[in-house]
């Protein structure tokens, strides 16, 4: 049986890890990316996700340098995102050691890019990141450019379009819940995962073990966790042992083996 995945999400700014709330507020230091990757490898996490959050605002691609250093000693899947908008940038990241790239703003501004990237590198390399906000009337809109530019699409609609464009996975991120540690958007996760034929990675909101359980039970194939690992006494090992004990299909652990 394929296991559900727990993916620590690390935001990189100026070569260091940071973490904010709702994309723009209260950024706090979160550590050294390379040593953190080694720590998480020692935990035996399923994958790692690094997002260069200044790449799009600064109009440059994400750099592969962190992954290059990390992949000398850490042998697990990496996804890199931030500013990915040209095919050769993807090649550079893959050559540095990334297994998948996350495309977000570029997909909105040039949807054909996703199709081209999937065609050149294989759809399993391409994760499309979808950031969204929910308004007072209950409607939801996808935002690009790190949550600053509103699009005309709803998350489900956009996810289906990206699936058609041969995205390998969708990473759905609630801007409102980011960094709040108040729980995932379970309704949206259920709605989107139900309709998608490709895997859904649910992002934003983990604060307790119960939240993690609920998000995976709602239909996500994987969840990302950021603030909960960085600012509280929860490790990926705890998350996994809790989920395994409470009926979720994750990699069970016996000692340090899984």
């Amino acid at each position: 049986m394929l296991k559900k995945r727990i993916i620590p999400k690390f935001l990189v700014r100026g070569g260091r890890l940071v973490k904010g709330v709702r994309f723009h507020e209260n950024f706090r230091e979160a550590g050294n990316p390379v040593s953190t990757a080694k720590v998480y490898d020692a935990y035996g996490v399923d994958e790692l996700l690094f997002v260069d959050i200044d790449a799009t605002p600064q109009d440059r691609p994400a750099t592969g340098s962190i992954i290059e250093r990390v992949s000398e000693e850490v042998f697990m899947p990496f996804t890199v995102g931030g500013g990915v908008r040209h095919l050769d940038e993807i090649a550079v990241l893959l050559r540095s050691g990334a297994d998948k790239v996350c495309i977000n703003t570029a997909a909105i501004e040039n949807p054909a890019f996703v199709r081209d990237a999937a065609s050149r590198y294989g759809n399993q390399c391409i994760v499309v990141g979808i950031d969204y906000k929910v308004f007072a009337d209950g409607s939801a809109r996808v935002f690009s450019r790190c949550g600053s530019k509103e699009s005309t699409y709803g998350p489900l609609e956009w996810a289906l379009r990206m699936q058609d464009a041969h995205a390998g996975e969708i990473m759905l991120c609630s801007i409102d819940r980011d960094g709040t540690m108040g729980g995932y958007d379970l309704d949206m996760i259920a709605q989107v995962s139900d309709q998608l034929e490709i895997p859904l990675i649910a992002s934003s909101g983990a604060g307790t073990l119960q939240h993690c359980h609920d998000a995976l039970s709602a239909g996500a194939s994987a969840i990302t966790i950021s603030s909960m690992f960085l600012f509280s006494d929860h490790s990926p090992i705890k998350v996994r042992s809790y989920l395994a004990t409470n009926g979720v299909n994750v990699r069970a652990q016996k000692g340090s083996h899984s």
Binding site: M1, L2, K3, K4, R5, D41, G44, D46, E68, S71, E72, E73, F75, M76, P77, L94, R95, S96, G97, D99, K100, S119, R120, Y121, G122, N123, Q124, C125, G168, E169, S193, L196, E197, I198, P199, L200, G219, S221, A222, R251, A252, K254, S256, H257, S258
Partner: protein, 205 residues
């Protein structure tokens, strides 16, 4: 010396790092001379079958590799798409001819909701535990990282060494003499994956 075939596709750096982590000498190359002098050859691969075969043919690697595989009978390891290239044929985005070393063809995974395509993540391997390849891997703790939408269907049952479950059994490891191949990424499968690579390097035909 381990040679990793460079045909422009595949996560060669991680593979190189993985072998070097154990102190083995590795070269990433498309040079027929280096492939000839290597003790073992690894065929990586990420992307689409058709593009991969075109890329291999364009570098005239198909003849070189086939000679190493079937005539010299050098230990060959195929990984992910590299494994699929061992087959005769693939229907991924068209109808493509593979290297033809294994009597098998590549088909799209067939699953129904709630299972998704691609098959991405950690899945359990079913394997013969007395086999040299799996020494140190324990049943129940044998998860490996898969990321693929197409899979190999073997016509020769004896080629099939290990499977995983995803909407039915899915080919995970095949072996025919000096030819070994894995659908998952051992270089991304942490301790388990490194163990398999180590066992393969230590194996003498």
């Amino acid at each position: 010396m381990i040679a990793i075939v460079d045909y422009g596709m595949g996560n060669v750096r991680s593979l190189k790092n993985a072998f070097e982590y154990f102190g083995h000498d590795v070269v990433i190359t498309a040079d027929p001379e280096k492939l000839n002098t290597a003790d073992r050859i690894v065929l990586p691969g990420v992307g689409a079958f058709g593009d991969a075969m075109a890329s291999i043919r364009q570098r005239r690697l198909d003849a070189v590799l086939t000679h190493q595989a079937l005539v010299i009978k050098k230990p060959m390891l195929g990984i992910c798409l590299g494994m699929q290239l061992f087959a005769k044929r693939s229907i991924e985005h068209g109808d493509h001819v593979g290297l033809g070393w294994i009597d098998a063809d590549i088909q799209r995974l067939q699953v129904s909701q709630p299972l998704k395509i691609p098959h991405v993540g950690w899945n359990e391997l079913h394997f013969p535990d007395s086999d040299w390849l799996f020494q140190g891997i324990r049943s129940g703790e044998a998860n490996f990282y898969f990321v693929h939408s197409f899979h190999m269907v073997c016509h020769n049952a004896s080629d099939l060494l290990a499977t995983t479950d995803y909407g039915g059994p899915v080919t995970a490891v095949i072996r025919a003499g000096n030819l070994l191949a894995m659908q998952f990424h051992p270089e991304k499968s942490q301790d388990n994956g490194l163990k398999l690579l180590e066992n393969w390097v230590n194996w003498k035909p």
